[in-house]
């Protein structure tokens, strides 16, 4: 029987409460994300009680970021227009003290993108990536919580860490599941007591919803709509299973 520290139990309870609070209070997320992931990410955010906006133009992101409660930056399908919009959005969010999540998609493939992500990383509160991407960023700033997702998910912060090994392999067979997870973490940042709690809440919400959707699906195609349904009717009490 695994040893569950008091600290973990508190974190899990706080994560469950963050889910309830997102549903109760809502959250406007301005999401600058890749064109492949936009639609699915928006549907995940709606299913979880958040309201997305996804404008990318540098002349307009100021208004959308000012109005949002959190900022979600995903570097997929990056181009010069997106770079300018991301810099402007982060500036506006930082000035207003709004939380920011960075998803440095594929930075291990493109040196240009990696350098850009390194510049941004000191201005954000959570970095979510796979192991190759996180390694490519080098030492991430101590100020940011890092979330490395994979068969096992690891959340690391200044003086603690948390590990989750749940979910369904079908989640990797649906494009943009990881991108949408980043969006949900961003949405939880304003209601959670700290970034690690938001990260754990999003990971658990995704993992249990994925397991349930897997049970009723016939493959990755039918999995995707069922996954949205299970996010929508997820019972936060299930978060307690993370302690087992």
């Amino acid at each position: 029987m695994p040893d569950v520290s008091h600290h973990d139990t508190e974190l899990i309870a706080a994560a469950a409460q963050s889910i309830r609070d997102l549903r109760r209070h809502g959250c406007r997320v301005h999401s600058i994300t890749n064109t492949v992931a936009q639609n699915f990410t928006a549907n995940v955010l709606l299913a979880c009680g958040a309201r997305p906006s996804m404008t990318v133009d540098a002349d307009e992101v100021e208004y959308f970021t000012s109005r949002a409660n959190a900022l979600h930056i995903n570097l997929g399908t990056l181009d010069s227009g997106r770079r300018a919009a991301i810099e402007k959005s982060i500036e506006v969010a930082n000035q207003a003290g709004k939380p920011i999540l960075l998803d440095p998609v594929m930075v291990h493939v493109s040196p240009n993108r990696r350098d850009f992500a390194r510049e941004l990383s000191s201005s954000v509160h959570v970095i979510r990536a796979n192991q190759a991407e996180m390694d490519s960023l080098g030492d991430s700033p101590a100020s940011a919580v890092s979330v490395v997702t994979g068969p096992v998910d690891h959340v690391n912060w200044e003086d603690g860490s948390f590990t989750i090994e749940r979910g369904s392999h079908l989640m990797d067979q649906v494009i943009a599941t990881g991108c949408a997870l980043g969006g949900l973490m961003a949405a939880l940042l304003p209601v959670a007591p700290n970034p690690q709690t938001a990260a754990i809440a999003a990971l658990g919400w995704f993992a249990f919803s994925g397991e349930n959707a897997h049970r009723d699906s016939q493959g990755p195609g039918t999995f995707a709509p069922l996954f949205l349904d299970r996010l929508y009717d997820f019972d936060p009490v299930r978060m307690e299973e993370l302690a087992r």
Copy 2:
């Protein structure tokens, strides 16, 4: 028992006939819409018997607009490239006397976008928006039919109005449902006797299809594909229920 005017009964019958005519004759819609909504809008148009094209480049929209029967302009994810393409498309459509629908997404958030929408509004035949967006546009030109959607949908034209209070709340939980509704209204413009009839046809088609899809769905994820199925096999006779 509500009093149904002779005028309303005629409108509803004309709306049902427009649905039949769209299916019989088809309609090419050139749709300049946001990247979040493109895929779902295209699938809605196909399910309803229309053929979408979605090219955005200012150097190419002329050819696609010339070939289309209707033009659908949606201001989501606006940028300078889209602005130029929209201006060119509207010019081409106006010269050829083709009907145009404008969906001024989020104009209440961005002043740049609002000013652009105001410039365009005198060149279009239908404006579809939510209440905040419509208020932000100010006095819409008398030449355009206005459609304000929400829990209750209102269609207003020079000497009449029509109200619909049907549908499912799950429609708001699927991104781009409103955007796709604008696309369908555009597709109905060439076959309907006037813009208000096209608007009523699209609103009823969406509302009844949404109610039926809701009945068989488990949440917003499974709702979306079922909604497309119900649009596809919708029986226009049901439009008569709008009179009840």
Copy 3:
């Protein structure tokens, strides 16, 4: 009873083996495709065992193309940024001897796009199009295999041809099915003995999966997720039915 040549039987067996090899070895496809089709194409590629990347920026495509096993070029939603990225990607793929598929979407509508497609056609290994698009390209280079899709699909190469008349009409009611088919052909190029085998493998995989999905669906909405499921669990033995 149709006469099945020994040659056809060999082609069909090689196509079935290519499907097995794609699943076993995987394939990285760099796909520069239109924003309407990106999400569905990526999900088709994942369901079939390939790994897509979809970055479009000319400053980054070099890295993604270098790392990919095949290049998929689709001219939908073309603009100047996409043109530059396509030219760069093809240059990199040609230098490295990587196979390239071109899908000249809507070239019969836009003369600009047609001229661009003609320039590209001598650098690619497969051209997939509908009849109107293929006619508009003029004489395609003898070096490329041509695939003309429609109610009947025709694959033509230097000294042979193959015809398939299977599938479901619902495939035409889901946007981007043809675009995704091009992506799958590209993914099969590195594992197939020649381009015509890759084309036949993709056409059969799509056609039988479409027929099976049709059987269980209620319309085009529920068809799409079931189609992905049937691609995912497709049994290559069924390819033998192409000989009947």
